[in-house]
């Protein structure tokens, strides 16, 4: 069974009366319980791809199936985590996390109860009433994560979620994302994450989809079968990293 099926999609737009194609005939699938990383040079349309999976954008040709149904409007089985966090600065941590629940018409009481659970899950208990500007980068991204998890998505979409964080914070958060993904108590099934760091992709993913530069196609689909927790110093790890490097450069 496939959860998500990207079928031969292309995306182009017109700028200054020139037709620019950013994605050309891209196809891959994501199974339940799978962690997929999409990797490629900057400007290759990785983020556009993610937006199309969320239903925020539409492919010019081809289609994306979610549980065998084509995505026509906002895909409410998914939630996105952004590189820039995309928190509303005028809402508290609690209100930010509640945003998606409010949109789904969940009662205020239920909203707060659910938000509490996910705020605790990402380790932000005690910060419910803080505003984003009072938090560090790592904490902001935890809010972003809690906000995404609160709507209980099956598929979590992450757009370079660790790029704006310092190395140490990013490392901690990566571990926590793996933990959350493996957490049996959550509805969360699969993750699609866009990144430009090969090492990060190999460290996290079950499969790495490698894309070319614009107009991007899928160059390769590399399964990573290393046991977890993974160790970056192992030869097997380095061999896969090197292999992907050679594909891109």
């Amino acid at each position: 069974m496939v959860l998500l099926e990207v079928k031969d999609i292309s995306r182009s737009f017109t700028e200054d009366s020139k037709r620019i194609t950013i994605i050309e005939k891209v196809g891959f699938g994501v199974s339940p319980e799978e962690f997929v990383c999409v990797i490629g040079p900057s400007g290759c349309g990785k983020s556009t791809l993610l937006r199309m999976i969320a239903g925020l954008d539409k492919p010019t040709t081809g289609e994306i199936l979610y549980r065998d149904d084509p995505i026509k409007e906002i895909n409410l089985h998914t939630a996105i985590v952004f590189q820039s966090f995309a928190l509303l600065p005028w809402l508290t941590v609690m209100q930010n996390v509640c945003l998606g629940l409010e949109a789904r018409g969940i009662s205020p009481k239920e909203r707060i109860k659910r938000a509490e659970i996910y705020i605790d899950k990402v380790g932000l208990e005690g910060f419910e009433e803080a505003y984003p500007r009072e938090l560090s980068g790592g904490m902001k991204q935890r809010v972003g994560l809690a906000r995404a998890l609160a709507v209980e998505p099956e598929l979590l979409l992450m757009d370079e979620p660790f790029s704006a964080l310092d190395a140490l914070t990013a490392e901690n958060l990566r571990e926590e994302v793996i933990d959350l993904w493996q957490d049996e108590s959550l509805q969360l099934s699969a993750i699609v994450m866009v990144t430009h760091s090969i090492e990060e992709a190999v460290y996290l993913a079950d499969r790495v989809v490698v894309m070319s530069s614009r107009p991007s196609k899928v160059i390769s689909d590399v399964p990573i079968e290393l046991p977890r927790p993974r160790n970056r110093r192992e030869t097997a790890f380095n061999n896969i990293t090197d292999e992907i490097y050679s594909l891109i450069v």
Partner: protein, 569 residues
């Protein structure tokens, strides 16, 4: 008083100051009760009337700005129509709306008080609404893309999206522009309370008409009294309302303030605020909001029940249909009314004065240019001084803010008396000075913000090379403030054109003084002959020049400023 903690010392000082102010007020009241001229006894009532009109117009402007700005920002087709329309509306001076006010509101109510009041509120609205709508449009279109995507990806739509995203995102600019609009409203209050079209003259009780009347009679003492009341209201509004609101609105900006940089405030003022106003103010508002919450919940529940019912889609469609029908009917009637009016206008022969329009525009333009040069000559050095020097800023800013809040139109008769009787240049110089008052504050405040926005790192990096003061000015400061200079100039010229209309024509001591220009022609057509066709021709000529200048000069400079001279962080 070294052994007293400074906080306590501050409190004592503040307390003493307030006691002194109270005593002063007591004496002033006693003096006033015995010495105030009879004509001024109604001033509190006039103040109340004017304030109510301003408030009504402001509520109208707020509603307009939110719907118009939101529509222009979120719908592609609307943007193409609404923005240019706003551009034109903004450059129509308040007198240009007189024929509409008289022909529509006053006629509709057959000259009854209600109609005149409505006309006046409408006129004040025209000096408040446009920049607020621009503010909403700008803030809605500049919401960071990721935030838009995030809210959309959670399926946030409709009212929730407005409440959580668009409205809060608009707040900082809305509050700022509201202050501007109130200032604009006071500035043109005098023009909005005496509505005239030729022989037809409608006067409403209020501060504006009081000031104008006093000027007509040449009573300088009454002008000063009226002005004092006006300034009192403005300062009180600022302390009670706009001050707290501005600091609250800072919560709704995206970026964090750079560490260690706080807006300078007078220590005394903030302490007085601390002790009295803010405390009560916030409590009052919180209580009010709670009350609103109690009423709000049942309404919300009702809405939810309706929304969940099976008939909702049909109700929704019906509601949309009805509102569209009302809108369409309104638009149709408006067009019919305007067309009919135009037909009637053009059935008259073109007035002979119309030949003077091109030359008059040139004369007015020269006055504006003179005012602009004067404006730059004092605002640029002042802005550099204030922006660079914290101590000067702390001393000068409160002073400047109070001065800027005085509507100069009320001072105009005095300017004319002083200039015409004691200086050279006559009405020409007086007119230029009044234009300057309509122009300078926009430029100054934009420039100060520009100087402050130059990153400290950049300043220090350049200084560390040991460059001279002059090349620091030339290489860093002046290019750095160029974008703010352009923004300030655009709004400043807008304000200048508006001020122009009231600056070339003045009645003082029963005599009319004029300076030849488009403002004079327009004033004469409005107040003396009441020739609507002439008014229309003047407006068209003037708006054409303004729009052309915006397109050919300011847009280009703005584009240049925002590509070459912008400092990106």
């Amino acid at each position: 008083m070294g052994f007293i903690p400074s906080k306590v010392e501050g409190r004592i000082k503040t307390g003493l100051a307030i006691a002194a102010a109270l005593i002063l007020l007591l004496f002033a009241t006693r003096y006033a009760l015995t010495h105030i001229p009879d004509e001024a006894r109604k001033l509190p009532y006039f103040a109340f009337c004017s304030f109510s009109r301003m408030l009504a117009a402001y509520i109208l402007s707020l509603t307009f700005a939110l719907t118009y700005g939101y529509a222009a920002a979120t719908r592609k087709w609307a943007e193409k129509v609404l923005l240019p329309a706003l551009d034109i509306l903004q450059s129509v001076p308040v007198l240009g709306f007189f024929p509409v006010a008289v022909g529509f509101f006053i006629l509709l109510f057959r000259g009854e008080r209600v109609g005149i009041e409505l006309a006046s509120v409408f006129l004040i609205f025209t000096s408040q609404a446009w920049n607020m709508a621009f503010g909403v449009y700008e803030s809605t279109t500049t919401i960071p893309k990721d935030i838009l995507r995030a809210t959309a990806s959670y399926g946030t739509r409709g009212w929730l999206k407005f409440k959580r995203l668009y409205f809060p995102a608009s707040l900082p600019k809305l509050v700022y522009n509201s202050m501007m609009s109130w200032a604009g409203g006071w500035y043109f209050l005098m023009a909005c309370e005496i509505i005239a079209l030729g022989a037809r003259r409608f006067t409403l009780p209020g501060l504006g008409s009081f000031l104008l009347d006093s000027s007509d009679k040449g009573r300088v003492d009454l002008i000063f009294l009226g002005l004092a009341v006006l300034i009192l209201i403005i300062v009180a509004l600022d302390a009670l309302f706009w001050g707290p609101l501005t600091s609250w609105a800072k919560k709704f900006t995206y970026q964090m303030a750079p560490a260690g940089q706080t807006t300078p405030q007078s220590v005394w003022l903030s302490q007085i605020k601390d002790m009295f106003i803010l405390f009560r103010f916030n409590r009052g508002w919180v209580a009010l909001l709670r009350l609103a919450g109690i009423v709000n919940q049942p309404i919300k529940n009702l809405i939810r029940r309706v929304e969940n019912s099976r008939a909702w889609p049909r109700i929704k469609r019906a509601l949309r249909g009805i509102s569209l029908a009302i809108l369409a009917a309104g638009a149709l009637y408006g067009t019919y009314w305007a067309l009919q009016g135009l037909m009637r206008l053009f059935s008259h022969p073109i007035p002979s004065e119309a030949k003077a329009i091109p030359l008059s525009i040139l004369a007015s333009f020269l006055r504006l240019a003179m005012a602009y040069i004067l404006c730059l000559a004092w605002t640029v050095p002042t802005a550099v001084l204030i922006g660079e020097n914290e101590r000067v800023s702390r001393f000068l800013m409160p002073l400047i803010q109070v001065t800027a809040s005085i509507p100069a139109t009320a001072l105009f008769p005095l300017i004319v008396v002083v200039v015409v009787h004691h200086l050279w240049g006559g009405m020409n110089l007086a007119s230029i000075l009044l234009i300057l008052t309509g122009m300078q504050w926009y430029v100054l405040f934009n420039l100060i913000a520009g100087v402050r926005a130059i990153p400290a790192d950049l300043k220090e990096a350049v200084r560390s090379f040991g460059v001279s003061r002059w090349s620091y000015l030339r290489r860093v400061l002046l290019p750095g403030i160029f974008p703010s200079l352009i923004t300030g100039s655009i709004t400043g010229w807008g304000g200048g054109w508006n001020a122009l209309i009231v600056s070339e024509y003045l009645r003082f001591q029963g005599k009319t003084r004029t300076a030849f220009g488009i403002g004079m022609l327009l004033d004469k057509a409005t107040y003396e002959t009441g020739n609507s066709l002439m008014i229309l021709l003047c407006l068209v000529g003037m708006i054409m020049v303004i729009v052309l200048m915006n397109q050919l000069l300011w847009r280009k400079l703005y584009a240049k400023a925002s590509t070459k001279y912008i400092i990106e962080l």
